[in-house]
Amino acid sequence: MQIFNIVIAGVGGQGVLMASKVLAESALASGLDVKQNEVHGMAQRGGSVISFVRIGDQVCSPVVMPGTADLLISFEPLEALRYIHYLKPGGRLVYNKVSINPSTVAAGLAIYPDDVEEQIAAACAAAKGIEALSIAREAGNGKAVNMVMVGTVMKDLPLKEEIITEVVKQISQNKGVEVNMKALAGGAAA
């Protein structure tokens, strides 16, 4: 198969890395080659985070270049816009509609644009926004936003839903299995 490029964006602390892990492990379990890469380290929370997952028969570089992503998953609307140039023409975008203020906005140094979602829609006709936080809360934990997002994109991936579900089951800690399963299903139904 041709290489399938996924970019996952969000804010530090939202679980971008766990979502990346689910996709990478699912690719491995499907017998495909995969590289997953993100940059982390500077501080713990609040910064912009971007992660790459590349799936194919043979994957060389761990980096997705701008203009080549088949799928952009963003956990926050402003971050969707920040990385929307990674999408290739016709690429798909799914984003969580719940916004988080950057520190610059919180400090009154910048304004969170009112029209982020309009700008997203103008740049990507196939963009889809979902209320991931409320779906995660319905599933039992607001922190399960990452699994909701994975659920939402399941059908857009070159991976079988059963394999992804199984991987989520395996890597969830005891109490988390039920919540994550509900979050995944909630995302898939959104």
């Binding site: 713990q44 609040g46 270049m65 701008p66 969170y112 936003v145």
Partner: protein, 588 residues
């Protein structure tokens, strides 16, 4: 069994599978997860050292005592360990010794962009440069074999895109550790000048032998393709080359020091255009040009700064401008920031207000330099906050300036190399206010244990150093506690420290809220009382924001983000901010 793991995890696994016995390191992005994974795997002894010099010296001891040893650190850590390294290369090893160093091209989380390949040349030691997780795994075993065969320490170098990138690894057979003799050998291990002179000759001879080894080892391989373009490369750059030019001929170097001269000559002669693709410094290129080999494309077309990628290689080869896919302009930046309810926020709110010069250090608190705080005015290297503040104070005194500098340093950085600076300040009659933010963890690298946290890397209860008695023992008479969550008290304590002549140390002992999972109910803003004066926004907390534009903007608190520390409420003059009753929703 196939696994998908990062380069760091692969090295940890490779270490255990290669009969590794002892590992010591100091946390530093992007190297940190290696030792954490050794600890998690659980079958090999490992520890966090107080700094990288101590870590490497401990690994040297491990090797002398006959156990295969590993020392891990980030690139700038090697500067700290260099004193040990530059003589270790003379003594050589007993059991194999690997110094793993992670470079950070692009400076994702570092204060400089130094290229550790320079250290391999400098120390005249072999260096391996893996191109993916599988190679990272395999090169640990190969590295120990080379180290033992040639009686040399070996450097295993990764970059961020190898250390943190996950790829598929098939582990090999596990070798049980075999601990050798603990040998007394004065001429080998005592580097008095007379022994050192003999050893230096041996080091030069060893390098020639390693060069012969480099000619034949499968670690350096030629992948012949189209002979129009031949590319010499290594590490993650190899992957970018394969992405950009799948058909080109490639000489992929796994052993990047010393270089295989004959192999390079043969390869250069077999292709029309010779291209060198290497991140950061022109290490290969300078050596290859010095061999008298013509290089068509190297640093004349590729950058010395930042990361290489497939597009940069395409542009360099085709001499065309790539189509630039531009990001959306004018979006608010989202820089990293103190966590909601971090104790650093209160400290920097006050330092920002007092407008005093702050000599900073390496840690989460470095973020105090960013707007709107802007309350850190120099950050050089680990420990420099204290020593540089001391120099500033001395020059200020000579200049007749009546200003006392403030140094801010965290617990782990203080243990790493702040203690010596403070000792020197006390000894030389210094005049600075030193604030030690003792949150009982190495925060910025993800909350590692340290000599103050009460546990070892392997989770064993440990001696927990108390900083106040330590500081007093160094000769500092004025030592007081600080509670950075209390803004008034913090301001008073800092003012007192600045007004009192001589060295003055304040210690904040509030624990890291993230590491110790401290949760408090969120703050609520009474919209009737809020006047929209924005005084609270000065604390730069991402839980705070303004209500939608249009009407008169007031402050609101995002209960999904707020962790109820109450620092913002102390900024409010209108009694509009209060703690909410009930459970915390913070999505930390």
């Amino acid at each position: 069994m196939k696994k998908i793991i990062s380069g760091n995890e692969a090295i940890a696994l490779g270490f255990g599978d290669s009969g590794g016995v002892f590992a010591s390191g100091y946390p530093g992005t992007p190297s940190t997860e290696t030792l954490e994974e050794v600890a998690r795997l659980g079958d090999v002894y490992c520890e966090w050292a107080a700094n990288e010099k101590v870590a490497l010296e401990a690994a040297i001891g491990g090797s002398i005592a006959g156990g295969r040893s590993l020392s891990t650190m980030k690139h700038v850590g090697v500067n700290v360990a260099a004193d040990a390294l530059m003589t270790l290369t003379y003594t050589g090893v007993n059991a194999g010794l690997i110094l793993m160093v992670s470079d950070d091209p692009g400076m994702h989380s570092s204060q400089n962009e130094q290229d550790s390949r320079n250290y391999a040349k400098f120390a005249k030691v072999p260096m391996l440069d893996p191109a993916n997780s599988q190679e990272a795994y395999d090169m640990v075993r190969a590295g120990f074999e080379i180290s033992e065969q040639f009686d040399t320490p070996l450097m295993l170098r990764t970059t961020t895109r190898i250390a943190h990138a996950k790829g598929v690894v098939v582990p090999g057979e596990k070798i049980a550790p075999q601990i050798g003799e603990w040998v007394k050998d004065v001429p080998k291990y005592v580097m008095l000048p007379n022994f050192g002179k003999i050893k230096h000759v041996e080091v030069e001879a060893r390098l020639l032998k390693l060069q012969e080894f480099a000619e034949t080892t499968p670690l350096n391989r030629v992948e012949m393709g189209d002979t129009e373009v031949g590319i010499i490369t290594s590490g993650v750059s190899y992957q970018h080359v394969r992405e950009a030019c799948p058909d080109a001929s490639v000489l992929k170097l796994g052993l990047v020091h010393p270089l295989p001269e004959r192999k390079i000559r043969e390869f250069a002669a077999s292709v029309k255009r010779l291209v060198i693709v290497e991140e950061m410094d022109a290490i290969f290129e300078e050596q290859i040009r010095a061999m008298g080999i013509e290089v068509e494309i190297g640093k004349n077309k590729l950058p010395l700064c930042g990361e290489i990628n497939a597009d940069l290689i395409r542009v360099a080869l085709d001499d065309t401008k790539a189509e630039v896919v531009a990001p959306v302009e004018g979006l608010p930046q989202r820089p990293p920031v103190f966590c909601p309810s971090c104790a650093h926020r209160g400290l920097f709110t006050i330092l920002s207000k007092l407008k005093t010069f702050v000599s900073g250090d390496i840690g989460c608190y470095t973020l105090g330099a960013l707007p709107p705080m802007g309350a850190m005015h120099s950050v050089i290297d680990m420990g420099a906050s204290i020593s540089a503040a001391h120099g500033m104070a001395k020059v200020n005194a000579i200049a007749g300036r009546d200003e006392k500098p403030v140094a801010v340093i965290g617990d782990s950085t203080f243990f790493h190399s702040g203690i010596t600076g403070l000792l020197s300040m006390a000894y030389n009659g210094g005049n600075a206010l030193v604030i030690i933010m003792d949150n009982r963890t190495t925060g910025m690298t993800g909350g590692q244990e340290n000599p103050g946290s009460g546990n070892t890397l392997q989770g064993i209860p440990a001696k927990q150093v108390e900083i106040a008695p330590l500081v007093k023992a160094l000769g500092i008479e004025n030592v007081a506690e600080l509670d950075a969550y209390d803004l008034k008290a913090t301001e008073a304590a800092i003012k007192k420290g600045l007004e009192t002549p001589g060295p003055y140390v304040l210690i904040d002992k509030n624990p890291c809220i993230l590491r110790y999972k401290i949760r408090k109910p969120a703050i609520h803003v009474d919209q009737e009382k809020c006047t929209g004066c924005r005084a609270c926004l000065k604390v730069a907390c991402m839980a705070l924001g303004l209500t939608a534009s249009g009407e008169k903007q007031k402050v609101r608190v995002d209960p999904n983000v707020c962790n109820g520390c109450g620092v913002c409420t102390q900024m409010c003059k209108f009694d509009a901010m209060h703690e909410l009753e009930g459970e915390n929703n913070a999505n930390l």
